[in-house]
Structure formats: structure tokens, C-alpha cells
């Protein structure tokens, strides 16, 4: 029978090896939470989420919006006295929840990340306005970006006519991506 890994072990395993010390070294000092610019929008503070992982509270962690609210600013990581790269742990949690297909309802982050990757695989370049307009209509992201475009004078007559450039060797790039992750047909 295969040994089933504990949740905390799984998370540890999906954090890339160069990313600081393992989360079990956490002192629960709260420096991360105190440094976090997004903490008031999180269900659990960074310190709490680490505590939940260490205690193998998988369900609670998967139900939390914390890592999807992380702005990847690395303030916590540079200050942690135990040398834990909390910001990269947040990425690891995002990946874990995407793989499991389990995340809090109503979050835009998972869909956004997936759309972003799709866009790169289809063109090699990203283009924020197009991304928002095509992939995220239901989140009214189009309006957000429209405002941005107007303010920078990039939109003429209220339309969104701009397209992203494509890389020239797109086929090669797609083959390259397929060597990393199995993806379906691309446009």
C-alpha cells in the first residue's frame, strides 16, 4: 500500500527546494502577518495559514482565500526570522488548490491564472486588455481594463482593437510547453 503523505508534507514537497527553510521551522512569531499589505483582506493571516498547514488542516486551508489574496510582494519572506519563503509558499498553495480543483467559490484568481497560461500558449505574449476582455467577461474585468486603457489613451472610440503580438516560433514554443505540461489542442 502506498504511503499517504500528510498535507503538510505535500505542501513542503511542492515548494521548490531553493525556496528557503521548510515551513515546520515556523516560530509563529507573526512577523509575516505584520508585514503583509493584504492581511486585512485575508480569511487567515499568513501566520495562521502556516499554523493550519502544520496541523494538517487541509480542508480549512483549501477553503481559505489567503493565498489568492497574496500580492507576491515578498515582504514577509525577507523578514521571516526562520528564513521561510512565505510568498513562494503562497504560490505553492495556489498550485495545490488548482490541482485539486478546490478553492473558495467566487475567487477570480484561479481562473485568471489559467487564462493567462492559455494566452501564452496561444500567442507567446500576454496582453492584459485582451486577457480581461476575452477570458473574464463574467467578472466585469472588461470595465476595469477599459478604464485603464482610456486613461492611458490607448483606446480609440471605446473599442478594444489592439491585439497582442505573437512570437514567431510559436509552434516551437508550444512544443516546448508540452514537454513540461500535457496540454490539449491549441488554437
Amino acid at each position: 500500500m502506498a504511503v499517504e503523505l500528510s498535507f503538510s508534507k505535500e505542501i513542503e514537497n511542492i515548494m521548490y527546494a531553493s525556496h528557503g527553510k521548510p515551513i515546520k521551522d515556523c516560530l509563529q512569531c507573526g512577523t509575516c502577518s505584520g508585514s503583509c499589505p493584504a492581511v486585512e483582506f485575508m480569511d487567515n493571516s499568513p501566520r495562521e495559514i502556516i499554523g493550519l498547514i502544520s496541523a494538517d488542516f487541509k480542508k480549512e486551508v483549501l477553503a481559505s482565500n489567503t493565498y489568492w489574496t497574496c500580492a507576491s510582494c515578498y515582504h514577509c519572506s525577507v523578514r521571516c526570522p526562520a528564513g521561510i519563503d512565505i510568498a513562494d509558499m503562497m504560490y505553492a498553495l495556489k498550485r495545490y488548490s488548482m490541482w485539486k480543483g478546490e478553492f473558495q467559490e467566487g475567487l477570480i484568481g484561479p481562473e485568471f491564472s489559467e487564462s493567462f497560461v492559455k494566452m501564452i500558449v496561444n500567442s507567446g505574449r500576454s496582453f492584459e486588455p485582451l486577457l480581461a476582455a476575452t477570458y473574464l467577461p463574467k467578472f466585469s474585468a472588461r470595465d476595469i481594463v477599459q478604464e485603464g486603457l482610456m486613461a492611458t489613451g490607448l483606446v480609440l472610440s471605446g473599442k478594444m482593437p489592439l491585439l497582442p503580438k505573437k512570437v514567431k516560433r510559436l509552434k516551437n514554443l508550444q512544443r516546448m510547453v508540452r514537454r513540461i505540461i500535457p496540454i490539449g489542442e491549441t488554437k
Partner: protein
């Protein structure tokens, strides 16, 4: 003329166009040649890592491999997120043979190979280290006298830590602004996150972060906020109106790329660096 492998990144082709043109103009003025990488791809900013870490490193590595192939030694990025991605991928490639092998297997599909040998820096670091503050100061023909500038470092230019540098209170941006004749203000938010990566996914949190940054800069009497990243710039500039609506404030502080301020100080024609008349009059009104 020293040459650099220049990776503009996707934002500089759309929302950050003024950054692109001012970066090229100022570099030329300072005797540096930015050679754009051929057929570069998106580095993913902050959006690949949630999906697949190896894919994220591989996409960044393709750009590094193209740069290595060009024979140049320096890889320069004007976007803080691109810079952070390129810097760390490059250093992991050196340290982790296993990772490098996986990535090189994928890169074969595009007939590329990466070694992690580029010297990766942000554009502002290149100006300061390779040209030098003194040299830049000598070239200033139109000092930005009396202009109170909030140097906004943001996150990924200074973090994560790369070596022993000061990640809490860096000073080089201030040094550069002083060389231009401007007055860099002191304010606590200079390395605090602007929430750029959350603007679509968690707008409430992002607007709160922009609000705090604007508040701090304005409280300290800044005339303009200077940025080193297209995502910060767009986020702080464009969403001011939404902040005002959300928080009942009336911010209207201009936001400019550091390269635009350099361009004005170096006497480059404003329209070549994407500086409109209102920006220019701001920079000059304080001179009188």
C-alpha cells in the same frame, strides 16, 4: 557603445509604451545600446507560478537562452516582475543542475540551450552601476529643481533579497533623483506593495493598497510619483479615479516612469519620451 540584451516584456508593448520609448531614448543619450531580444516570449509576471512552477522557469529560460545566444553578457529588464523572474531563474539554473536539465530538455523544442550565465539587472541598476550617478549628473541640462518626487521602488525591484542589499530602505533611487536636480521625498511606502498583481483578481485589496500609497506620497508633499515598473505605474496612475470614488478622496498626482524624469532632465524632446504638455509644465513650474 556598450550593448545590452534588452527584454522589454509584454507591458511595454501596450500599457507601458511610454516606458519603452523613454528607456530607449535615455539609454542612447547615456551611451548605452539596448538590443531587443529576438522573438522573446512573455515571462508570465506573477501568473504562471500558481499553475506550474517548472513551466514558469522554462518560459523565463527561453528568453535567457535567446539572450545567451546573442553573445551579449548583460540581460536588462525595465519591468520589476520580469526582472525578478529573470534574475531568480538565472540563479537557479546555475545552482540546480537537475532543474537546468529539465528546462533544457524543453528548450530543445526551440533549438535553444540555457546555461544561466547572463548578468541580469533592472534598467535602473544598469544606469546607476554602469553609467554612474556622477556621469548622469554631468549630462543634466535641465535640472528638475524644486520638483518633489516620491521614489517608488515597489516590491519586486528590491525583493526577494538577492545578496546583502538593503531590502527595507534602499537609497539608490533617491540618489539618482538628486542627480537630476529633483528633491526625493522620504515616505514610508516606498517599498510597500501597490497591489498591481491583484487589480483584476482582488480589486478591493488592490485599491486599498493604491490608496495607502497615494495618501503617503501626497501627505509628504510629493509633486509626482516616479516608478520603475509598468505594472506599478499603470496601477497607481490609472486607478486613482477609482480610488477617489471608493474612498471619497481627490487624488490627482501625476505618475511618471523614472526614465521620463531622466529624459526631461537630460533635455530630450518631451514627445520622444511620452511626456505630455501637462507633465512637462509640472516639471517646469517648480523650477521658476
Amino acid at each position: 557603445m556598450k550593448q545590452y540584451a534588452y527584454y522589454p516584456g509584454c507591458s511595454l508593448e501596450s500599457l507601458g509604451k511610454n516606458y519603452h520609448i523613454s528607456a530607449l531614448e535615455v539609454s542612447r543619450e547615456l551611451g548605452l545600446e539596448l538590443k531587443e531580444l529576438e522573438d522573446w516570449n512573455c515571462c508570465g509576471a506573477t501568473a504562471y507560478f500558481p499553475v506550474d512552477e517548472l513551466l514558469a522557469y522554462t518560459l523565463v529560460s527561453r528568453n535567457l537562452a535567446i539572450a545567451e545566444k546573442s553573445g551579449l553578457q548583460d540581460f536588462v529588464a525595465p519591468c520589476s516582475a520580469c526582472y525578478k523572474n529573470a534574475y531568480f531563474t538565472n540563479s537557479y539554473l546555475q545552482k540546480d543542475a537537475d532543474l537546468a536539465e529539465h528546462i533544457n530538455y524543453a528548450l530543445e523544442a526551440d533549438n535553444l540551450h540555457v546555461n544561466g550565465t547572463m548578468k541580469v539587472r533592472h534598467l535602473i541598476e544598469v544606469f546607476i552601476e554602469d553609467v554612474g550617478i556622477e556621469e548622469i549628473q554631468k549630462k543634466v541640462s535641465n535640472p528638475l529643481k524644486g520638483l518633489r518626487v516620491a521614489p517608488y521602488y515597489g516590491c519586486q525591484l528590491v525583493r526577494p533579497r538577492k545578496a546583502k542589499e538593503d531590502v527595507e530602505n534602499p537609497q539608490y533611487f533617491e540618489g539618482l533623483l538628486s542627480a537630476l536636480g529633483a528633491e526625493p521625498i522620504e515616505y514610508a511606502s516606498k517599498t510597500r506593495c501597490c497591489g498591481g498583481s491583484l487589480i483584476i483578481t482582488n480589486r478591493k485589496a488592490a485599491l486599498d493598497m493604491v490608496h495607502k500609497l497615494l495618501q503617503d506620497a501626497v501627505k509628504n508633499n510629493a509633486n509626482v510619483i516616479a516608478t520603475t515598473c509598468p505594472m506599478c505605474n499603470v496601477n497607481v496612475e490609472v486607478y486613482q479615479s477609482q480610488v477617489n470614488r471608493e474612498f471619497g478622496t481627490d487624488f490627482s498626482i501625476p505618475v511618471m516612469y523614472f526614465t521620463q524624469l531622466m529624459g526631461i532632465a537630460l533635455g530630450i524632446e518631451p514627445k520622444r519620451i511620452g511626456v505630455g504638455a501637462s507633465m512637462l509644465s509640472l516639471a517646469q513650474s517648480t523650477v521658476s
